[in-house]
């Protein structure tokens, strides 16, 4: 497991400021979808019972129905687990120095990327639609100078607050790095001589 106190390549004074996950509405979506799929056999079973009440007692179809039901329930359970794992492993960690973006797409596709706060050029927060506005969740896009796609915090809680927090941290980092830059350049010149 990943320990937030021991981040990879962490600087001495680096601290975790924000730990962000997708909004709980995504969890609700997963549970509602799974719930419908779990209830489906009850509906199908009732229809079968109405059509042929003795089918469950049939020498072949009875066991076949039970085996299918168990296999179906296990499959739905695993699909729910996979969605939950996907949700749980989508994490954005904002430290005093950088943003670490970890995205899990299914079970066999994982993306981990990071951006230093002093490289940030533009931050945009976005809330689209009724539900998003009502429950205050949305996306935050972080753009750096590098020619890479925008960093995206997907469906996070309070995107405006996160944007303000990252913006503040970025400003602090830029000021900190401005003070450091000339010093490093001078050191480099001395070494060359």
């Amino acid at each position: 497991m990943i320990d937030l106190n021991i981040l990879p390549n962490a600087q001495a004074d680096e601290k975790v400021v924000l730990l962000l996950r997708r909004h709980w509405i995504d969890l609700v979506r997963i549970f509602v979808f799974s719930g419908v799929l779990f209830v489906l056999p009850i509906v199908v079973g009732t229809l079968i019972e109405l059509a042929n009440p003795n089918l469950i007692l049939h020498v072949f179809w009875g066991p076949a129905l039970i085996a299918t039901l168990v296999a179906y329930l296990l499959t739905i359970l695993i699909l729910t687990f996979t969605e939950l794992t996907d949700y749980w492993l989508d994490v954005w960690v904002v430290t005093s120095e950088r943003i670490i973006n970890t995205e899990q797409h299914g079970l066999f596709n994982r993306i981990v990327s990071e951006v230093y706060l002093h490289q940030i050029q533009d931050i945009t927060s976005e809330q689209k639609g009724f539900l998003s506005t009502f429950l205050t969740f949305g996306n935050v896009f972080v753009q750096t100078a590098a020619e890479r796609e925008r960093f995206q915090f997907k469906n996070i809680d309070n995107p405006d607050d996160v944007k303000i927090a990252i913006s503040g941290l970025s400003k602090m980092c830029k000021m900190h790095h401005k003070h450091e830059m000339p010093k490093q350049e001078t050191e480099g010149v001395v070494e060359e001589k």
């Binding site: 497991m1 020498v59 072949f60 994490v91």
Partner: protein, 89 residues
């Protein structure tokens, strides 16, 4: 032509094997990439308990069936009747 009932257990076993494999992958991902804390550990526990619950429930239902019994092709028709129940009823 007679078909043994246990033949139903073959596709069932394949599905169970797949779900077990995916359960393992889910647990592995949480254990490997999850953030230290109660969340990931709790989720692993929930996965194991709920999977075991359905497996035990399913096994209880499936163990009551006489899998050694055979059935003729004609008996496969649901409305044919005349065949003894596999549940011993």
């Amino acid at each position: 032509m007679e078909i043994p009932l246990w033949i139903l257990l073959i596709p069932f076993a394949v599905v169970v094997a797949f779900t077990l494999l995916f359960l393992f992958f889910n647990i592995y991902h949480l254990a490997r990439y999850g953030i230290v804390g109660r969340g990931a550990t709790g989720l692993i526990l929930v996965y194991c308990v709920s999977y075991l619950f359905i497996v035990i429930l399913g096994a209880t239902a499936l163990l009551n069936i006489r899998w050694t019994q055979t059935v003729s092709i004609q008996e496969l028709l649901p409305f044919s009747g005349g065949s003894p129940s596999s549940f011993g009823i």
